[in-house]
Symmetry: C2
Subunit: 130 residues, 2 copies
């Protein structure tokens, strides 16, 4: 009977966790597979601490999982249907854009996408080695 009330708060918390462009972008980055933090940092262009906090929020919500490999930490999507659910929500945002799109933290992306020092970003012959 009262299943609606508590669920609404939990769901609101999930939406709140998702409601940041940096976190949305991180999730989109993880769409094709696991990605190291240095890669996210290189693409997002934000400070390391800020990204770590966003990742902490995503971890606290059980939306991502981590795997350590040497020094790097690789993040991956924990819930397989998350991106699909976000994709379903996107067309509604387009309708919302016409009205009031005033409040939302701005996200600045680096023009050079994906230039970090991790071995996965240097798959080419010019690799600087490990």
């Amino acid at each position: 009977m009262d299943h609606g009330n508590l669920t609404l708060e939990v769901q609101a918390h999930l939406l709140r966790t998702l409601a940041h462009p940096a976190r949305l972008y991180i999730l989109q980055l993880l769409r094709s597979g696991e990605v190291c933090v240095c890669h996210i940092q290189a693409v997002l262009g934000e400070r390391q601490a800020a990204i770590s906090q966003h990742l902490m929020a995503l971890r606290a919500a059980n939306l991502v999982r981590t795997r350590k490999e040497g020094l790097r930490v690789y993040y991956r999507i924990a819930q397989p249907h998350l991106l699909e659910a976000l994709d379903n929500l996107r067309p509604l945002a387009i309708g919302a854009a016409g009205a009031n799109a005033r409040r939302a933290p701005r996200l600045r992306l680096m023009p050079s996408r994906g230039r970090c020092t991790c071995p996965r970003c240097q798959p080419g012959p010019k690799a600087s080695s490990p």
Copy 2:
């Protein structure tokens, strides 16, 4: 061009608009059709101004539309797939509940559901089916 960046902010804004248990509950109330403000007020048990602010946020995001009938204002879902998209997101929230329960505004519902003075709630002694 470069619509990816802006879209993330717009989508984040939409998620932020949805990220409140009262607004989620209002949207669930509108699932079966249009509902007057007095009804929402009676069910939610919140002050009138607070509800009006939530409704204002939903209107600003183009998620609901209004229709005036005499003194009352009836709200209805503007985007037909909104509730479906929210339903798809719900199972992910269940997974998030087990981990770190961060704070989210709490929602208190009135035990007597749907006792407002609008003609739709009065005439039928049967259960409220707006």
